[in-house]
Amino acid sequence: MSDPRNRQYTNGDITVFWIPSKCIHATTCFRDLIEVFNPGRRPWVNMEGAPTRRITEVVNKCPTQALIWKNNQDLTEEEQKAQRHVSSGEETPRSLSKPEDPTSIRIMRDGPIVVEGKFTIIGSDDQELRPTTMTSFCRCGSSLNMPYCDGTHRKINFTDQSNGNGE
């Protein structure tokens, strides 16, 4: 049942599970808490980067449950065993794609616009938004965190079938 790419990270109190196959690059985790979730680093999750409560808050916002958490006392035997394994060769949200120069813009099927590279974002009020090297923009029109994706496209069953040359 378990994908060999899955990883788990603990601070002794809780364990965060990372399931790459579920990630849709909503990028909420590292926009909110780069101290813990940093796709430019290996391992990309640093459980010492913030207090447990902050980590669970951000993990709870992951729209696809690519990130989930459990109290350590609730771990199964198998999960406890896996704690001892070193996170080598892990994938990160970044390594799921290939960062390229120039800036890479990827249109996700029925999902957001994922951007990676060196870029600046100017918001609808003409103010520069928080600098980053990877983010995702809403394409379904219904995000509650505009201009970014928050995973709402799944709830509303957004499709982008009506394509011009984007197909």
């Binding site: 390229e100 120069d101 120039p102 800036t103 890479s104 813009i105 990827r106 249109i107 996700m108 099927r109 029925d110 616009i113 951007v115 590279g117 060196k118 870029f119 600046t120 974002i121 100017i122 918001g123 609808s124 009020d125 938004l129 923009f137 809403c138 394409r139 379904c140 029109g141 219904s142 995000s143 505009m146 201009p147 957004f158 982008d160 009506s162 394509n163 011009g164 040359n165 984007g166 197909e167």
Partner: protein, 63 residues
């Protein structure tokens, strides 16, 4: 001027305007040849996705 940054401008009630160096891959993973500036649909209603076709005006898109 060599290291020109890519600029994403969020247009209020409208598309995302992209200028500067970039490469776009469509939903099938294939590169789309397109010169800047590019206007990417944000409202979800364009008939020419991923590009804007002005549909946000008809649908009174706001955020």
């Amino acid at each position: 001027m060599e290291n020109k940054l890519t600029l994403f401008k969020v247009i209020a009630g409208g598309p995302l305007k992209v200028t500067g160096p970039f490469r776009i891959k469509g939903r099938d993973g294939k590169i789309i040849e397109k010169e800047e500036p590019v206007l990417l649909c944000r409202c979800g209603h364009s008939s020419n996705k991923p590009f804007c076709d002005g549909s946000h005006k008809r649908n009174a898109f706001s955020e």
